[in-house]
Amino acid sequence: MASSTKNIFQYRELIAALAWKNIVIRYKQAYLGILWAVLKPLMLMMIFTLVRSFVGIESGDVPYPILTFAALLPWVFFQESASEGVNSVTSNAALIKKIYFPREVFPLTAMATKLVELAISFVILAGMMVYYKMMPTIYAFWVPAIVFYTMIVALTISFFGAALNVYYRDVSQALPVALSLLMYGSPVIYPLSLVHKKLIVEQAAGEWSERLYTLYTLNPMAGIIDAFQNVMLKGLPPDFDTLYPGAILTIVILPFSYWYFKRAENWFADVI
């Protein structure tokens, strides 16, 4: 891990150059340019708001559109970093066969690219906060830490997935399906408070309720989304009770994921 961090520092210029290339290429001939990047969370927000008007989802004292947009921000960032990260090695086959640099540069580049798009989404969020007359509090300083944690989670998936994808392209096919399933298992459409209310307060699943809630929070994105909404919209600190199960899971898996990636890296050029 230490050597990895050193590598990141050493190859920061390369990562920056590759990420810049990704962004430039994607939007070069598009009139709206990088604005397309924020289209996805905006569209989803509108659809969810529309759906909510039929089914009715409690959103507490925060207006639903901004609550779901604040959930979509970390979610879309995570989802896109993970899926781009998984494809990043195979889509750079030409480079891998021709030149050497540590291969973790590719998943990291995918993430750096998405980080730029996240930054633009933040501008939209700020605009909405102005519209709803919400002032950021001191707790907004938690945001960098939350984003960093999201990156770690996405990298955990990217490293393992990207390496496996070199051998079995099934991974890149299965991942979008798995990720969209995971979205329904994360508090994106509905707030976490709703899950908490059902399971902990109302004990809806009887004696399994507590365990089910822990299982739910094993998904790191549950804690992340909730924490993001807390610090940005509600003026509250992150809820560590919902964060730690997912964090433990991530910390346990990340070394394995990275180890697998580094081990598989040796054969990328031969197999890809």
Partner: protein, 421 residues
Amino acid sequence: MPIIEVNYLTKEYQLGHLTSLKETALNTLRRLTFRPVQKREQFKALDNINFHIEEGEVVGIIGHNGAGKSTLLKHLANISKPTKGEVIVRGSVAPLIEVGAGVNPELTGRENIFLNAAILGIPKKIVRQKLDEIIDFSNLEQFIDTPVKRYSSGMTVKLGFSIATSMDADILIIDEVLAVGDLAFQRKCFDRMEDMIKRQGKTVLLVSHNIRQVQRLCSRVILLDHGQIDTDGEPKTVCDMFYEKNDREIKTNIDHAQSSAIGSGEIELVDIHFLDQLGHRVNCLTYDQNCSIHFRIHVLQELENVTFGFGFHTTDFLYLTTHNSEEQLSISTIPPGNHEISCQVNRLPLLPGIYSIRFGITAGQAAGTIFYGESLKHFQVIGKIPITIRDGFFALDANWCSDNIKDCQMIDFNSKETQKL
């Protein structure tokens, strides 16, 4: 300490396509239950390679297709990992394995310079300093802000080469890159490489099929054969050996190969054979000896005003010489049937090697071609040649002399006697 050390390097590839998920799962199950796993055939691309390269050496790597040259370079550039053995490289490597590997068609030339430099690990600061030099070398000033997708393929390669050679690495790895661009640019690349080798004293590894180029640039040549080192040593010795090997291979190939001949059908070539100066039928000709070449033809209908011509060419179709019967043999008519014509060659000037014959016949007032064929017969020229005419295809009948250097002797090669001037 050598800058590159290759110890017992072996690289195996599995033959056949990748295993499916199912097969992998089955194999894992077999391994867990201690049953034999299904193994696939292995192919040894490199087989126990050992060599050391000192700093400043310029090493050429030659060998036939599939001998393992590119695989070896990939290991030196750290792209592939050995199955067995180790590769130690002490210094930074600039791999020119394929120029323009990182060139992106959507970006402009200038943007690509920065991107490729980053890929090659050149710091941004240095690129900014060298930007003008790179653009200047590539001859692309006019197009540097145009997306590369609008470039011709030659322009793309020029750009790639310019970027790659601007990298300040200890070791340069070059794989067939000089065969790019137009002649003028090739010349420029060659000069830049020579500059890097001879003046900057860099360590260079060069893979090429252009043996003449390798012989000229390198101080040492490694000949690979089926993944093993066949010879490692002096460029001249190794290259000669490679030529010899190639000649033999070409000869065995062509003995079976069909030559291509076109004709109007009025005439057929039956046979070509050689006679040496004593009149014996031979397959090999001897340098500097008289010989004759006999063409046996079968004429199907009467022909008028017939002219014959033949020529020697190399196996890669470099036409060396031709000879025409026009002014030596005047044939007004040839009746149908078998005929033999021959051409006497005095003191064959071809240097030892493999050559081939082309032959053509014209007829009629308009001298229309009624038969023409190339590579009709391959033959070897043998014989001892003096050191003065080592290179090339022909011996030049020439003598050196000097008027004002004292203590100078003229040597008569033929009589092997020295005369005091």
